[in-house]
C-alpha cells in the first residue's frame, strides 16, 4: 500500500510552527492502523528531505535534522518525490497515496506548493491553488467577502493609488500577503502608516490598512469540509499580555505546543444569537473562499455585531483543538482530510477543444509575424 506523507516546514516565517503541526500530525496518523506515515521536511532554503516521523521539535533547532535523507521533487507527470542520489545513481521514487500539507505561510500556504503537487499529480489535503492564493491575499479575500454582502471592515491597499483612506485612524497595518500576525502593527495616523511601509520588511510585498477597533475582539471558528461541511465551536483566543494591541505571533505560537497550546476561551462565552450568526456566516465564507480540508475563520466582534476578518487555509495544529462540541478525535479529523484528498480532486486539467483546428488553419508562423 502506498504511504501517507506529512509535508511540513518550508521557506516561510512560520517554518517553525509548521514543524510542530507536521510532527503532531505524523504522531496522530502513526497511532492508527492505516498506511505507513512518512515525514517530508521542506527546509527553510527550499530543499526536500525525508526525516523520521517520530522526531521531536528540538531536532530541527539547528537546521535539517541529523539523518535526514535528501529528496528531489519533480513537477511533472510521473514525478513527485524521489530519493536523491540513490546507489549507482538511480533515484527511487517515494510512492505516495496522499500528501498531508501542514505548511503555514509562504509558498506552502499561498498556492505555490499546491500548484507543484498538482503538476506532479500528487493528491494532497487542504486548499486548492485558488483557495490557498485567495486565503493568503488579505485584500482580495476582503473584497470577495464584501462583494458577497458579508459584514467586513473597510480594507484598502496602502500606496496602491489610494491617497488617503476614507476612514479615520488609528489604523491597523497588515502585510497584504502572509498567513499569520507577523508584521502587523497599529499606527495612529496615515503618515506613520506610510513611513512603516518602507521600514517594515514584512510589508515590502504590499500592505493593507483598515480601521483599528480596540472594542472588537477575535472570535475564531473551524470549518471542515469532509464528509460534509461542519462548523466547530466558537473560540476566543486570549492574549498572554494585556498590554499588546493585537493578538501577536507570540501569543499564538510561542507557548510551546504550537496553536494547540495557546490560551483560549472555548467555547467562547457569547450570545446564542451571535453564535448562530457566526455559524451562518462561516458557511457562506466556506463557499465563497472555496474552503477544502480544514480552515480557521477569524472574525472580529464587539459582542453584538461581527465582521469577517481573515481566513487561515492551513491553520496551526490543523485547528484540531476547536472540535470540542461534539468532540472529534484528531485521528478522525486526519482520516477525513485524507479521505477528501483521495475522493475530491483539486484540479481537472482539460485539453478539450484543442483539437488541432487552430493549428491546421494557422498557416506559417512567419507569415503571421510579417
Amino acid at each position: 500500500m502506498p504511504d501517507v506523507a506529512v509535508i511540513f516546514g518550508g521557506p516561510s516565517p512560520e517554518h517553525d510552527v509548521s514543524v510542530l503541526t507536521g510532527l503532531q500530525a505524523a504522531r496522530g496518523l502513526a497511532g492508527g492502523s492505516g498506511p505507513a506515515v512518512r515525514a517530508l521536511y521542506w527546509s527553510k532554503t527550499g530543499e526536500w528531505f525525508e526525516v523520521d516521523p517520530g522526531l521531536e521539535a528540538e531536532s530541527f533547532l539547528e537546521g535539517v535534522p541529523r539523518g535526514a535523507r535528501p529528496l528531489v521533487f519533480t513537477a511533472a507527470p510521473g514525478g513527485g518525490f524521489s530519493e536523491a542520489g540513490g546507489r549507482l545513481g538511480r533515484s527511487r521514487a517515494v510512492e505516495l497515496d496522499v500528501a498531508l500539507v501542514c505548511c503555514h505561510g509562504g509558498p506552502g500556504e499561498d498556492g505555490t506548493l499546491q500548484a507543484a503537487l498538482d503538476l506532479a499529480a500528487v493528491r494532497y489535503t487542504g486548499p486548492t491553488v485558488a483557495g490557498a492564493a485567495l486565503g493568503m491575499d488579505k485584500l482580495a479575500f476582503g473584497a470577495v467577502m464584501a462583494g458577497a454582502g458579508l459584514p467586513t471592515l473597510p480594507r484598502v491597499l496602502l500606496g496602491g493609488g489610494v491617497d488617503r483612506p476614507d476612514f479615520e485612524g488609528p489604523y491597523i497595518l497588515k502585510p497584504r500577503f502572509g498567513g499569520s500576525s507577523i508584521g502587523i502593527d497599529v499606527v495612529q495616523d496615515f503618515a506613520t502608516a506610510q513611513a512603516r511601509l518602507g521600514a517594515n520588511p514584512h510589508l515590502r510585498a504590499g500592505a493593507v490598512l483598515e480601521p483599528y477597533r480596540p472594542d472588537m475582539t477575535d472570535l475564531q471558528v473551524g470549518v471542515r469540509t469532509w464528509p460534509t461541511l461542519e462548523i466547530s465551536a466558537v473560540e476566543r483566543p486570549i492574549r498572554s499580555d494585556g498590554s499588546t494591541d493585537i493578538l501577536d505571533y507570540r501569543d499564538k505560537y510561542v507557548a510551546g505546543e504550537g496553536m494547540a497550546g495557546a490560551n483560549r476561551e472555548l467555547p467562547a462565552l457569547i450570545s446564542p444569537e451571535l453564535e448562530k450568526a457566526l455559524r451562518t456566516a462561516a458557511e457562506s465564507v466556506a463557499g465563497l473562499a472555496g474552503v477544502r480540508g480544514m480552515a480557521r475563520l477569524d472574525f472580529l466582534s464587539d459582542g453584538d455585531t461581527f465582521v469577517v476578518n481573515e481566513i487561515n487555509t492551513v491553520p496551526g495544529s490543523l485547528a484540531r483543538y476547536l472540535w470540542v462540541t461534539p468532540p472529534v478525535p484528531f485521528a478522525t479529523l486526519l482520516a477525513d482530510l485524507l479521505a477528501e484528498a483521495r475522493q475530491r480532486p483539486t484540479h481537472a486539467y482539460t485539453a478539450a477543444g484543442a483539437d488541432g483546428s487552430v493549428l491546421r488553419s494557422a498557416g506559417s508562423i512567419a507569415a503571421k509575424l510579417g
Partner: protein, 542 residues
C-alpha cells in the same frame, strides 16, 4: 572491594598463564586489543568534543591521568607493566586492564556530551582501528605481537590524534562541497553580510544585531554554535532563505588563517570585533597573535565596527582607517565615540552617537554588556535602521541564554546563569552582578544572606590558566559567602585564590560535577540568597 573478589586479579591470571609462555603472549595480545575498544570510544569522544584538532586528545589524556592520585598511580603502573611485558608478557594484561578502565572519571558514553556517530566520527574511528590493526599485524609478522599490541593499547590517545591528523585533508575536501554550495547560495541571495568575531561577546552581539535589525530588514543569524567552517556553511545552506536581506554570521577561530578562510567565501560587508582576551590562548601562544587572527575578519569589508576601549583594537581601528575603510569606533565609556553605550550609576544605559544623545534611561537585562550593545547599534545604523527605531527597540532587548541570565528559583533564591561564559572579563562582570543581586534580595531579618559562586573555573588560557583562576578565586572571596568548585581542572588554583584573601571567610565546597553542585545549592539556598553559575565544563574535562 567486591570487585577484587569476583574478577580475576591480573597478576593471578598472569601466573596461571605463565606455564605456557607462548599461549600467554597471545592472551596478552587479545587483552590489549580488547582494551582498545572502550579506550577508543573514550578518546574518540574527546576528539569529537575538541573539534578533531590533532594533539588535543593527548593533551586531555595528560590532564586526566594526572587529575587524581589514583589515576596517576594507575598510569604509572600501566607504563611500568608495559615495560615489564617486554620480558614477561603477562604483565601486559595489567596494562590492558588499566587502559580499559581508566582514567577514572572519564566515561565511555559521556553525560553532558555523548558520543555522536556522525559520518566524520565513523571515518575517524575506522582510521584509528586501521592503525591498531597495522600495529598488531606488524607485530605478528616481526614476532613482536605482544609488545606492539600493548603499545597500541597504551597509545590510544596518540593513535586517535594521529587519525585526526591523517583525516584532516580528506575532511577539508568533503566539507569543500558544502562550502562551495554555501558560497553559491550567498551570491544568489546576496544579503548584507555582518561578520562578528571576538574572544568573547560574539554570540550576545549577534543576538543584539538580529534584534535591532529585525523590524527594518529581514534578518537571519547563524545558530549559536555554528561559527566554524562547517557550521557557517551549514547555516548558509539550511537557514539563509531566499529574500534574506541581512545575514549575521558569527566567526570563531582556533588558530591563524581560519577566519581568513571564512571571509574568503563569506565576505562581510560589515566586520565586527567585539573584544580581545586570553581565550584559546593555549592554541595561539600570545594575545598579539589573537589580535592578528581576529583582524583577518576585516578582509575586504568596507565597514568595520570595533570595540576601541581595548587599546589593541583602537590600534586596529587606526590601521583600518588608514587603509581606507569606514571605521565605526564603539565604546562603553567615551560618549564621543562613533557609538557609545554608557552605564549610569543607577544601572540604566545611555546611548551616544558622536557625542550626542541617541537614547537615555534604557533598562536592559543584567547580562547585557554595554560594549557589545554599542557594536550592535553601530551595525544596525550601518545597515540603515532608523536611529529613532534603534532607540525605541532598545528597551525590549532580550537577554541571551546562559549569559548572565537572572531567574528566580522555586525556593526564592536568585539564580544568575552565566554558564556559557569562560573569560576573565566576563567573570568579573558576573561577580559584580552577583554582588548587586545579593544586595537586592528581600531581607530575612537575620542578615545572613548567602551569595554563592558555582564554577569549574576557566579553561584554554594557556600558561595563564592557573594565574587567571587564582585571581578569580580571590575575587570570589571578596564577594561571595560560599565558593562551590566543580571538578578538578582548576580546583587548586581556585582554592589558592580564595584562601589568599585574609579575613574574607568564604567557605569552599568541593564537588565532583555540576549535578552534585546543583543538589548542594538546592539544599542550602533559600529566599533572598543568590547563586552565580559561572561557566560549565563538558564532562570530558576532569
Amino acid at each position: 572491594m567486591a570487585v577484587v573478589g569476583t574478577a580475576p586479579v591480573p597478576s593471578t591470571v598472569a601466573l596461571e598463564f605463565a606455564r605456557d609462555h607462548h599461549g600467554v603472549a597471545w592472551i596478552t595480545v587479545a587483552c590489549a586489543v580488547a582494551a582498545c575498544a572502550p579506550a577508543g570510544l573514550r578518546w574518540l569522544r574527546v576528539a569529537q568534543r575538541e573539534h578533531y584538532l590533532a594533539g588535543s586528545v593527548l593533551r586531555f589524556a595528560g590532564r586526566w591521568w594526572r587529575s587524581t592520585p589514583t589515576n596517576a598511580a594507575l598510569a604509572t603502573g600501566a607504563v611500568a607493566a608495559a615495560v615489564a611485558s617486554l620480558w614477561w608478557p603477562p604483565a601486559g594484561v595489567a596494562t590492558a586492564a588499566v587502559v580499559a578502565a581508566g582514567p577514572i572519571g572519564l566515561g565511555v558514553r559521556g553525560r553532558t556530551s555523548p558520543l555522536a556517530w556522525t559520518r566524520r566520527l565513523r571515518t575517524l574511528a575506522a582510521v584509528w582501528a586501521g592503525l591498531v590493526v597495522v600495529l598488531v599485524v606488524v607485530g605478528v609478522v616481526t614476532g613482536a605481537a605482544s609488545p606492539l599490541a600493548v603499545v597500541a593499547a597504551l597509545a590510544v590517545p596518540v593513535l586517535v590524534d594521529l587519525a585526526c591528523w591523517a583525516t584532516t585533508p580528506l575532511e577539508r575536501r568533503l566539507s569543500g562541497r558544502f562550502v562551495d554550495r554555501a558560497a553559491a547560495r550567498l551570491v544568489r541571495v546576496a544579503p548584507t553580510v555582518v561578520a562578528i568575531t571576538g574572544s568573547f561577546g560574539k554570540t550576545s552581539t549577534k543576538g543584539h544585531v538580529a534584534f535591532l535589525v529585525t523590524g527594518t530588514r529581514s534578518v537571519v543569524a547563524t545558530p549559536a554554535s555554528f561559527n566554524n567552517r562547517a557550521g557557517l556553511a551549514r547555516a548558509v545552506n539550511e537557514h539563509l532563505a531566499d529574500g534574506t536581506e541581512v545575514f549575521v554570521a558569527e566567526m570563531g577561530t582556533y588558530g591563524p588563517g581560519e577566519i581568513a578562510d571564512l571571509v574568503g567565501w563569506c565576505p562581510p560587508d560589515i566586520a565586527v570585533i567585539t573584544a580581545i582576551g586570553p581565550v584559546h590562548l593555549e592554541r595561539f601562544g600570545s594575545e598579539d597573535r589573537i589580535v592578528e587572527a581576529k583582524s583577518e575578519i576585516l578582509g575586504p569589508a568596507p565597514d568595520v565596527v570595533l570595540a576601541v576601549d581595548d587599546p589593541r583594537l583602537a590600534a586596529v581601528a587606526d590601521r583600518a582607517a588608514a587603509a581606507g575603510k569606514r571605521v565605526h569606533r564603539c565604546s562603553a565609556r567615551d560618549p564621543a565615540a562613533d557609538v557609545a553605550v554608557v552605564r549610569g550609576s543607577g544601572g540604566a544605559l545611555s546611548v551616544y552617537r558622536r557625542g550626542s544623545v541617541l537614547a537615555e534611561g534604557i533598562e536592559v537585562p543584567v547580562g547585557v554588556q554595554p560594549s557589545n550593545l554599542a557594536c550592535a547599534i553601530a551595525v544596525a545604523l550601518v545597515v540603515g535602521v532608523d536611529p529613532e527605531a534603534v532607540g525605541s527597540r532598545l528597551s525590549g532587548l532580550p537577554s541571551t541564554d546562559h549569559r548572565l541570565q537572572a531567574v528566580r528559583s522555586g525556593t526564592g533564591a536568585t539564580i544568575l546563569d552565566d554558564t556559557y561564559n569562560s573569560n576573565p572579563a566576563g567573570a568579573s562582570a558576573a561577580l559584580a552582578a552577583l554582588a548587586s543581586a545579593a544586595g537586592d534580595g528581600p531581607a530575612d531579618g537575620g542578615g545572613s544572606r548567602r551569595a554563592v559562586v558555582v564554577t569549574p573555573g576557566m579553561v584554554e588560557l594557556g600558561a595563564r590558566q592557573f594565574e587567571e583562576n587564582r585571581r578569580f578565586g580571590a575575587a570570589v572571596a571578596g564577594v561571595a559567602t560560599d565558593l562551590v568548585i566543580v571538578g578538578r581542572t582548576n580546583r587548586r588554583a581556585l582554592q589558592v585564590g580564595s584562601a589568599s584573601v585574609p579575613g574574607a571567610g568564604v567557605r569552599t565546597v568541593l564537588v565532583g560535577d555540576r549535578p552534585e553542585a546543583v543538589t548542594w545549592v538546592r539544599e542550602h539556598l533559600g529566599p533572598g540568597d543568590a547563586v552565580l553559575y559561572e561557566n560549565d565544563l563538558p564532562d570530558h574535562y576532569p
